[in-house]
């Protein structure tokens, strides 16, 4: 009984460590491919443009609506609380430290992961089941260049750009609330934000967005590739992939918090 339990713990640990190592190995392979000029051929560029359209442009109306409907009340409540506790002087650092560096990337990655990561995972799994990956291989088309790289680059660009858009919309609504609650003019509000902006926080935010974009596309690709030749393996691969995406988001969020506050 005791031995069996220890054996199971050991097996799980080895499996987790191996999976983690494989993900990092695959990540380094993709990372170096990103800087290889030969990867950017006509077909790859076409896929990249399509991916940007499907992930970032098509989602814009929904994303803007969510940013306004969720971001504005959030900013409003935050400023109301600050006023209530007499912390109006902390407004800039709270807006920059919470809304811009924490809430914006989190909301963005949530939407992109739910919408695009699952789609990528299913798409790669379907291609694997249909033997379409074999087709690409037979015709000398590198799946890393043609399928994976455009999706990963698009993931990075989407998270960085949409996160910035969320921040801009949230801060714009902050300008309105600060006008009503604190009678702050737009110039004073802007100055306050600039004075509260910490370069190191913004750098961590950028790195966090890049890492989030990278891993929420890379992990679904890896799990899509794990599908077998059977249709029933598609939902299993999507399920496993999305759980790992969630874990990756949590790890990156925790690491960024540790970096900021330690």
């Amino acid at each position: 009984m005791m031995y069996a339990t220890i054996e199971r713990i050991g097996e799980t640990s080895i499996r987790t460590a191996r999976s983690f190592y494989e993900t990092l190995a695959f990540s380094s392979l993709v990372f170096f491919k990103m800087f290889d000029r030969t990867s950017y051929n006509s077909a790859m560029r076409m896929v990249l443009v399509n991916q940007i359209y499907f992930t970032s442009v098509q989602v814009l109306p929904l994303f803007i609506a969510v940013s306004i409907l969720f971001g504005s009340p959030m900013v409003g409540i935050t400023l109301q609380v600050l006023k209530h506790f007499g912390l109006a002087d902390r407004m800039g650092s709270v807006l920059m430290g919470f809304i811009v560096t924490e809430l914006s990337p989190f909301m963005t990655v949530l939407l992109i992961a739910l919408r695009s990561s699952s789609a990528i995972n299913a798409e790669i799994a379907v291609m694997k089941v249909n033997r379409e990956l074999k087709t690409l291989d037979v015709f000398g088309i590198d799946v890393l260049d043609y399928l994976f790289l455009p999706r990963i680059i698009n993931g990075i660009l989407s998270i960085v750009c949409l996160s910035s858009l969320f921040s801009i919309l949230a801060l714009a609504s902050g300008a309105l609330f600060s006008r009503f609650l604190f009678d702050l003019g737009i110039n004073e509000y802007t100055n306050l934000l600039f004075l509260s902006a910490d370069f190191s926080d913004l750098f961590i935010l950028l790195v966090k967005c890049i890492l989030l974009g990278f891993f929420i596309t890379l992990i679904p690709i890896r799990f899509g590739l794990r599908a077998t030749d059977e249709l029933t393996s598609i939902p299993v691969s999507v399920l496993n992939g999305m759980v790992k995406v969630f874990i990756a988001i949590v790890i990156i969020e925790v690491l960024s918090l540790l970096l900021r506050f330690l």
Binding site: S42, N130, R131, K134, F139
Partner: protein, 158 residues
């Protein structure tokens, strides 16, 4: 054309041939399907775009000119599931000859076109792109020989 007495011999020879001519292999086979989330134009242009970095517009113009040879421009914007078996074979054949210096290997074409009405179908298809390959070989079984009326390749019964 190579006619094999048994499936395992055919598959072994096919694997060896594919490996030998890997860089210029244009394989037409049921288990090398068209990409389902691309239309036919995208499927075929992809070969030129990826392998020769041809701009999208030029690659598509070239593909359309090949489709015109078969009078098949109508399938350009369709996807794989919406094609008839004959149209699918035609698309796969064009994809194969788009490989530079193509060594075209057609693996058991009757798997792709199982309900063939015309024994001259393969002859008609192959003669339209005869000028585009460097060599072409068909793999099949002796009992299907009569389905290949007048095909423009040598027949070799093993």
């Amino acid at each position: 054309m190579k006619l094999f007495p048994r499936e395992e011999i055919l598959e072994r020879t096919l694997a060896v041939t594919s490996a030998e001519h890997r860089d210029r292999l244009g394989l037409v086979a049921m288990d090398v399907p068209l990409i389902s989330n691309l239309d036919i134009l995208g499927n075929l242009a992809l070969i030129k775009q990826f392998r020769e970095n041809l701009p999208k517009r030029e690659a598509e113009a070239l593909v359309l000119s090949y489709l015109q040879r078969f009078d098949m421009e109508r399938i350009a914007y369709r996807r794989n599931p919406n094609l008839s078996a004959e149209e699918r074979f035609c698309a796969m054949l064009i994809r194969a000859v788009l490989v530079p210096e193509a060594f075209v290997v057609i693996d058991r074409p009757l798997k792709i076109v199982p309900d063939l009405q015309e024994n001259r179908f393969f002859h008609d298809m192959l003669t339209k792109v005869e000028d585009l390959w460097s060599s072409c070989v068909i793999f099949d079984y002796p009992w299907n020989r009569e389905r290949y009326e007048d095909i423009p390749v040598d027949i070799d019964e093993l």
